[in-house]
């Protein structure tokens, strides 16, 4: 055996590789077993199954969407405190993990002692949250169109599990803000309603209602309205918007369009309210109070606990 193979010349290297010495065998074995492992690591590490449940954050500018996002992000990455935020110009998609203490809908019927619940605390449930800019100019382009595309998506990965509509309850007592918020909410609900109605005609298989959470933010402020009052105001305002929309002018593009019967949110004759929306169309709207910024308690993010529970119930 050419154990003293000469490794200097090219021919020598080839010869010693081919005549079966220990080094060559070791290298071959390494490549043969290592390469698949390596490939696996490269491809599957990077694409480590993104969580399949998506949530969309909507709401007018200044309601606290980005703040909520950065708070949840900070919570799931165990960093000290959430970053401060400014007005957004583009939307972002991030993976957020649900705290293990929050129950999820899929674990609803498990007993407390179920061992799989312990598994959850080690490997928390993850979901994706998309933040959208709330500025009037960007709302349509990035908020509602996002809602449309996500709610229509066929594949499981981009399926929308719920919409979180942020509301600034402290500013809602002003007419301007209330009107703006209500118009946006109206448009969102209308989009979802159209989808729900179309779904009835289409295949029932994909029909899955998208619940809406109206997150009444900034409950920590003194001037904040309680969630019930928020509901009342929003309902009254949406009712008015519905009325003026039905009376308003047509858009320039509506010439050729056929008469849109389902352009009115809810049913035409009865006054609008969220309960009717649920009964007749199957669109569930919850209003839950909370606060992204809560200075009183030591552990930050306790104000969003209820929203997280809502998210958990959608998973």
């Amino acid at each position: 055996m050419g154990s003293q193979a000469d490794w200097n010349s090219f021919g020598g290297v080839v010869t010693s590789l081919l005549d079966g010495n220990a080094v060559a065998i070791a290298i071959t074995a390494l490549i043969a077993f290592g390469l698949p492992v390596l490939l696996h690591l490269v491809f599957y590490r990077s694409a480590a199954s993104p969580p399949s449940s998506n949530f969309l954050l909507l709401g007018p500018s200044g309601a606290g969407k980005t703040s909520l996002l950065s708070l949840l992000e900070a919570k799931s990455s165990l960093s000290k405190k959430p970053k401060s935020t400014h007005t957004s110009q583009s939307s972002t998609l991030t993976v957020v993990s649900l705290p293990p203490s929050v129950p999820t809908a899929s674990n609803r019927f498990r007993s407390v002692n179920d061992p799989s619940l312990k598994d959850v605390s080690r490997n928390p449930v993850k979901y994706r949250l998309r933040d959208t800019p709330g500025h009037g100019k960007l709302r349509w382009e990035q908020g509602v169109s996002q809602l449309l595309s996500m709610s229509k998506a066929k594949d499981v990965k981009s399926k929308l599990r719920g919409v979180i509509f942020m509301v600034d309850t402290a500013a809602l007592s002003e007419d301007e803000v209330l009107r703006d918020t209500a118009i946006y909410l109206h448009d969102v609900l209308l989009t979802l309603q159209k989808r729900a109605l179309n779904k009835g005609k289409a295949s029932l298989k994909t029909a899955m209602e998208i619940p809406v959470l109206v997150a009444a933010n900034k409950q920590d402020l003194f001037t904040a309205l309680p969630p019930n009052s928020v509901r009342e105001r929003l309902v009254a305002e949406i009712d008015r918007i519905r009325w003026s929309r039905s009376k308003g002018l047509m858009d320039a593009s509506a010439d050729a369009a056929v008469g849109d019967e389902d352009d009115i949110l809810g049913t035409e004759d009865t006054p609008f309210n969220f309960k009717l929306l649920k009964d007749e169309i199957g669109l569930k709207v919850d209003i839950i109070g909370g606060a992204v910024r809560d200075d009183n308690s030591d552990d930050f993010g306790s104000g969003v606990r209820k929203w997280e529970e809502w998210i958990g119930m959608c998973l």
Partner: protein, 647 residues
């Protein structure tokens, strides 16, 4: 003094910030709203002026820099009273350093949650730049600044683009270092290009003074603390930095061909000999003693690191420009391929031709030249440095960007719901407010269709069962009142037939002051419980100062809830000036509330006037007139308009 510095992403998260005084978040928010989203304030072209754009809010001045690759915005906030010339430099340097340091973090998914320990780098930069300018008195700072700016811009503006602004501080920084060793050098080449005033030399000398004492202090501390391995590692880096600086110089020399630049590189050459040697001394001293002072020394160390980063970035830039000449053949082929396959990083040269085509296309659609140029510039600013998607050509990328920027410009900030607003004014929910009629007045150039559109709006309101008063305030043109009377009679007939609202004409004949008539009409409307008062005005040329000035009085007397301007879709370039002049005619604090674009049915898909008018003022379009009948009034649908424009 700098008030605050923030690094934020376009998605709104502040990655890092430092504030010297509390600055409310609304300051930066209004920057984002006004400049980036609504584009109310248009920055002057940064490429030509060589400085960062400025935005003023309350007592603060904001300067910013966008880095598109990472979607970052660097914002510096300072008091408007102060003249801080080094802010531009600071923005440039900080953005370079930050991106160089956290490149990998920015690409990762966790970019928004991790902490960025950037304070020390920032402090170092601020101190350095302040030292450069602030060593002398306040007036001197201004003086130096004024001279430095043209210097920098001339540096940038030269036909061959190798020079790099970031280099400047490094040299200015390095220069004082030499001054300690060699007193003869101060009036050296960097100053040579400026008019040599004694002040500069003074400033240059004072800098090293402070540095010297610091170094002295440091060496005094040198024996107190135990040095860590990391420290010495960094030292190695520092030494390397010195070496790099020299190699770059060799490169630079090869590239440069202007005399000024040559001057430049001569200085660092001197420095290259002068500076590293004390640095090396320092290192050996401390490694001998195994001890080092933390405070000031780390600072100095940082300085080296920072400079090496800046220089690397500069040399890379220089390299890329030089290779642009050399390997252009290969690049061209690659570029062609990429144009088809996608994944091409767009440059200005790539965009030039498609942008020109796009501009022509917009002009053909009757967009005013000014608006078309601005749109194209905006799109160019957005696209340069971006990568095209897979299998996406430059044209397609441009098209998408243009579509989104068109829809951005046309989409109103808050949508107008006229009926809802009328409701709020005429029957307020709040008990304190007394119900009053909702007043809408309509202005415009002669013959654009003011009265016709007034008739259409009136019809629309009548359909919603309002009581409408039409006030004929065109007391000038003969037949104007009669024309309105015809409309009023027609509408009366129509509404009685359909049993909807009521309409009445309020007129005082000809020759009266329009403002007084309008005021009386509103009072009459309030007394007789009308819901809406529609005021028609005389058509006037927008560049006739005398006629336009009467509008201010009119706005004060009638105090309309809404002033709509009627513009015709047929008008071309003039639309910009029309919109602008009418917008300014109502005095301070009162603007137009919306445009009605008439005669849209006559232009087909050439609806560019929509864009021109909104571009000029930022005021939304509320109605479109699309025909001869009372019912031919439409709201604006942005996708429809964008679709027509891009066809």
């Amino acid at each position: 003094m700098l008030e605050a510095f923030e690094i934020l992403t376009t998605s709104g998260v502040v990655l890092w910030s430092k504030s010297y005084a509390p600055v409310g978040p609304h300051i930066v928010n209004s920057l984002i709203n006004d400049v980036f989203i609504e584009e109310k304030v248009r920055p002057q072209n940064p490429a030509t002026s060589g400085t960062s754009p400025i935005y003023r809010k309350e007592k603060y001045t904001l300067k910013w820099k966008r880095v598109k690759d990472f979607n970052l915005i660097f914002v510096a906030v300072y008091q408007s009273l102060l003249h801080l010339g080094w802010i531009d430099k600071l923005l440039d340097n900080i953005s370079t350093i930050f991106i160089d340091l956290y490149k990998n973090e920015m690409r990762s998914a966790r970019a928004r949650t991790i902490e960025y320990p950037f304070d020390k780098y920032f402090d170092q930069q601020v101190r350095e730049l302040e030292d450069n300018t602030g060593a002398a008195t306040e007036t001197l700072v201004d003086d130096v600044e004024d001279k430095k700016d043209p210097f920098v811009s001339s540096d940038n503006g030269g036909p061959p683009p190798p020079p790099v602004p970031g280099l400047l501080p490094a040299q200015l920084q390095a220069a004082p270092g030499v001054a300690t060793s060699d007193e003869g050098t101060p009036p050296r080449s960097t100053e040579n290009s400026r008019p040599s005033t004694p002040n500069h030399i003074l400033a240059a000398k004072m800098g090293p003074g402070g540095r010297l004492s610091r170094r002295a202090r440091k060496s005094a501390n040198a024996n107190t603390n135990v040095s860590s391995g990391e420290e010495s590692a960094r030292k190695g880096k520092a030494a390397k930095a010195g070496k790099k600086m020299r190699t770059w110089n060799a490169d630079g020399l090869a590239d440069e061909d202007t005399g000024e630049i040559l001057d430049y590189s001569a200085t660092p050459d001197d420095v290259g000999v002068g500076v590293p040697s004390p640095a090396v001394e320092d290192v050996t001293q401390e490694s001998m003693g195994r001890r080092t002072g933390k405070g000031q020394f780390v600072l100095k160390d940082l300085g080296e690191e920072v400079h090496s980063i800046l220089e690397n970035a500069d040399s890379e830039k220089a390299k890329s420009t030089s290779s642009g000449f050399m390997g252009s053949g290969f690049n061209a082929i690659g570029g062609l391929l990429r144009n088809i396959v996608g994944g091409k990083v767009l440059t200005e040269a790539d965009l030039e031709k498609p942008l020109k085509t796009m501009e022509d296309h917009l002009l053909k659609k009757n967009v005013a030249r000014e608006a078309a140029v601005r749109l194209c510039e905006g799109v160019q600013r957005e696209l340069v440095g971006k990568k095209t998607g897979n299998f996406q050509s430059v044209d397609a990328a441009l098209r998408i960007a243009m579509e989104s920027s068109l829809s951005k410009i046309l989409t109103p900030t808050s949508s107008l719901d006229l009926l809802r607003e009328i409701e709020a004014v005429t029957s307020p929910t709040n008990k304190q407010q007394t119900p009053r009629p909702y007043v809408i007045s309509i202005v415009g150039v002669n013959g654009v269709g003011k009265s016709t559109n007034l008739g259409k709006i009136c019809y629309f309101l009548l359909q919603n069962k309002y009581r409408v008063l039409i006030a004929a305030c065109d007391t000038f043109r003969s037949g104007a009142v009669e024309q309105l009377r015809v409309h009023a009679n027609n509408l009366k007939e129509l509404s009685s037939r359909e049993n909807v609202g009521e309409v009445e004409l309020y007129e005082k004949g000809y020759g009266k002051d329009a403002a007084n008539v309008a005021k009386d009409a509103v009072e009459y409307g309030a007394a007789n419980k009308f819901d809406v008062v529609l005021i028609d005005t005389a058509g006037r040329r927008h560049n006739d100062q005398r006629l336009m000035s009467s509008l201010e009085k009119f706005a004060k007397f009638a105090n309309p809830n809404k002033i709509f301007m009627v513009g015709e879709a047929l008008v071309g370039t003039d639309s910009v000036m029309q919109a602008r002049n009418f917008n300014h005619a109502f005095g301070t604090g009162r603007n137009l509330d919306g445009f009605i674009i008439s005669k849209c049915d006559t232009v087909g898909d050439m609806v560019g006037t929509l864009v021109s008018m909104v571009h000029a003022t930022g005021i939304p379009i509320v109605f479109l007139g699309v025909g001869q009948h009372y019912g031919d009034l439409r709201g604006l649908s942005v996708p429809w308009a964008v679709n027509l424009l891009m066809r």
